[in-house]
């Protein structure tokens, strides 16, 4: 499951940040990619919501620290949705 989420998220990051060389790993954060600014961040969240068909809460968004946590959150939401 998380393998597939990584794959879809990678596409999202590459598209939103307009960088084809982006590889996602669990401990990746906004500090590692200069293009990942606050505007891009919202677009990444929106893209994930649209592609996975889920919705994040403000509190969840605030707690996110790195890609690993983001993937885990998506996984939990997909599981809850069934």
């Amino acid at each position: 499951m998380s393998e597939q989420i990584y794959a879809i998220l990678t596409d999202i990051f590459r598209d939103v940040l307009d960088r084809d060389d982006i590889e996602l790993r669990p401990n990746l954060t906004g500090h590692d990619i200069p293009e990942w600014d606050s505007f891009a961040h919202v677009n990444i969240i929106v893209a994930a919501e649209m592609k996975f068909g889920i919705k994040f809460m403000t509190a969840e968004l605030e707690r996110l620290r790195d890609i690993g946590e983001f993937v885990a959150l998506i996984e939990r939401k997909l599981a809850l949705r069934g």
């Binding site: 597939q4 794959a7 879809i8 990678t10 596409d11 919202v42 403000t58 997909l78």
Partner: protein
């Protein structure tokens, strides 16, 4: 070095919402984008700028979601920056500055893509976040200078201070104050940009306080917003400001959808990103209308479009229309809406693969038919193909193909027209007739920024044109035909009663337009009162009816080295009255004005665009001499007033003028 990883194929097993209709709200009148990712890849790899542009343009006319708009917009940006595309250079450019109290950056790609769909290349600028007043009032600010359009948008809290429920006095004061403040901002925006101001109404997303009593409870927050919006509409009319009616959009599609509290608290986005394509299209259609690019003619199929069934097979009694069947009532409802469009000035044409006699009989004899033969300016019933029929319709009406909207239930016909005549707008007609009205409404192709008396009379004008054409076919030669019309022309200086129509004509005429200089009402008014300038309008009527105000010329008296001259900056005429020597009558009025003003010559200019080739020889026809280059290629022309102008045979029974 990183190597891009091949796409993992297992992803298909994750439920994927993709491009379903919940994510492209209000845009189901556009066909689905097929193979979007593949086509984007081809655009990115392509080297031929024109081919890339063609693909981008074709994709802009499909139902793209927020993410796809972003992706396509990036390719458009790349092409504009580094690529060469002939067609791109021909597209009219529009500079838009958005000044908003909330975040709007996420809307820009969708605005630009919608612009492309509507025939405009939009350059967007955004004022500093939350600094609307500073941008407009600070003497050092220059964000809006040179903008063709300035969009001003406030969320409720940024323009209306909170008042206590029940405190009606305080509520009234804040509404009045807000309305007055907006007017001051509009004037500043207009003055500093020289462009057109678009005010977005305030979105009412106040939580209900009293439930159903909200609308009645004095001083309830929603009531204040509603009052402010009413005040904005009234003031906008007066101040010649255009309005983006976000409340109408919200009424139609839901505030709960357009506004997402998560995005508001996270990024102060008042329009939720998934609905940026809907918002962008709503804004782009205002720009389209203001630039004269709205469609003018609705071409309708008949069988299964205006009634259920096939008249040729099912006969008059067999088709489904009118009371007695739910489907028949749905077709009636569509006809009623189409009839209303005709009454507001949209020209109707029929295009049907039918025996003309049988098709016409349906209109003459079916008791539940709402539309009748006279509602159609052209009635094309034949067994030929639809693209040829559309071309014939455009030619007869003197419209460009880009003035047409083609409405046909048959997907194969739609696909053929989209492919062969991409200029024609082809909404994706739904399978249920009860959804036809919404489809046409949502497509927004008939957006207007003004409504004049001429508009409401247009259907009658076109019916008269049809009878004139029939007359012309009978006449022996052009002179006897023109004489038989018994035309009367009335040439007058612009007055306030003519102002809206004259402005509309100057801004929406594309073919008989010498310089394609666009002018707003305020500028027209300034021209009319400027003693060095003259704005002449011409109205014509004949025995078939009144064609109304159909031509406008703007001239300015200037002192050149050779002496005083009258310089013609604008000359437009409705193509409906082409070939009736109206331009000759206008020329003589200009000569009279110029001589009174002490001018020794009249200067005329032709500025070629993609669409005004028709008037390339306009000044030569009127006896002007080419300046500089030869007569075939000259763009600047001169009529010497010290010698007698060329004569022409007047077909007018009467020429009245106040010049």
């Amino acid at each position: 070095m990183t190597v891009s990883r091949p796409i993992v194929s297992a992803r298909a097993s994750i439920p994927h919402i993709g491009n379903d209709l919940t994510q492209t709200l209000g845009l189901d009148w556009l066909p689905a984008p097929e193979r979007f990712d593949d086509r984007i890849r081809l655009v990115r790899r392509g080297s031929d700028g024109d081919l890339r542009f063609e693909s981008i343009l074709a994709l802009s006319r499909t139902r793209l979601d927020y993410l796809q708009c972003g992706t396509l917009d990036r390719e458009l940006g790349r092409l504009r920056k580094t690529g060469k595309a002939e067609a791109l250079a021909h597209l009219p450019r529009v500079r838009l500055t958005a000044l908003s109290s909330s975040t709007v950056e996420h809307l820009l790609p969708s605005i630009r893509i919608a612009g492309l769909r509507r025939g405009l290349l939009i350059d967007c600028r955004v004022g500093a976040y939350g600094m609307v007043r500073q941008e407009l009032l600070d003497p050092a600010g220059n964000t809006i200078s040179g903008s063709d359009f300035v969009l001003i948008a406030f969320d409720a809290a940024s323009i209306l201070p909170d008042t206590d429920p029940g405190d009606t006095g305080a509520a009234r004061v804040v509404v009045e104050h807000a309305a007055a403040e907006l007017v001051a901002l509009w004037r500043a925006a207009r003055e500093r940009s020289g462009g057109i101001v678009i005010q977005q109404l305030v979105m009412d997303r106040q939580p209900s306080l009293f439930g159903n009593l909200d609308a009645l409870a004095a001083g309830a927050p929603s009531a204040a917003i509603r009052e402010l919006n009413t005040a904005i509409l009234e003031a906008a009319e007066r101040e010649r400001v255009l309005v983006l009616d976000i409340e109408a959009l919200a009424r139609r599609f839901g505030t709960r959808r357009l506004f997402d509290p998560t995005r508001w608290h996270q990024a102060k986005q008042e329009i939720a990103p998934p609905h940026a394509p809907l918002y962008g299209d709503g804004l782009a259609r205002i720009l389209m209308a203001a630039r004269g690019r709205s469609r003018k003619c609705l071409v309708l199929d008949l069988d299964n479009t205006l009634w259920g069934g096939v008249i040729g097979d099912d006969g008059l009694e067999g088709i489904r229309l009118g009371q007695g069947s739910p489907e028949g009532e749905a077709y009636s409802a569509f006809q009623i809406y189409v009839k209303r469009l005709a009454k507001r000035g949209i020209v109707l044409a029929a295009s049907s693969k039918n025996d003309p006699k049988i098709a016409l009989e349906a209109f003459e004899r079916h008791p539940d038919m709402v539309l009748n033969h006279d509602d159609f300016a052209i009635f094309e019933a034949s067994w030929g193909d639809k693209p040829s029929a559309l071309q014939r319709i455009a030619r007869k009406l003197e419209f460009g193909l880009d003035a047409l909207v083609f409405f046909d239930d048959n997907p194969a016909e739609r696909a053929l027209v989209r492919q062969t005549l991409p200029e024609v707008a082809v909404p994706e007609v739904p399978s249920a007739p009860e959804a036809y009205v919404d489809c046409l409404v949502d497509s927004g192709w008939f957006e207007a920024v003004a409504f004049t008396r001429e508009d409401s009379l247009r259907t009658r004008h076109y019916a008269a044109d049809r009878r004139r054409r029939e007359e012309q076919d009978k006449a022996a030669d052009i002179d006897s035909f023109l004489d038989s019309l018994e035309m009367e022309i009335d040439i007058r200086k612009l007055d306030s009663a003519n102002l809206p129509r004259a402005t509309q004509l100057v801004n929406k005429t594309n073919q008989f337009n010498l310089t394609t200089r666009r002018t707003n009402e305020a500028e027209m008014t300034a021209f009319a009162v400027d003693p060095s300038m003259v704005v002449l309008t011409g109205r014509v009527k004949d025995r078939f009816g009144d064609s109304g105000l159909i031509t406008v010329v703007v001239g300015q008296v200037m002192d050149a080295t050779e002496g005083r001259v009258l310089d013609i900056g604008t000359w437009v005429m409705s193509c409906r009255v082409l070939g009736r020597r109206i331009e000759h009558a206008m020329r003589d009025a200009l000569i009279a004005f110029a001589r009174n003003a002490g001018a020794i010559a009249i200067l005329g200019h032709y500025r070629p665009t993609e669409r005004n080739g028709l008037v390339k020889q306009h000044f030569m026809t009127l006896g002007f001499a080419a300046m500089g280059e030869g007569e075939g290629t000259a763009n600047d022309w001169r009529l010497d007033l010290r010698s007698e102008p060329t004569t022409w045979r007047s077909p007018f029974r009467a020429v009245r003028t106040d010049v």
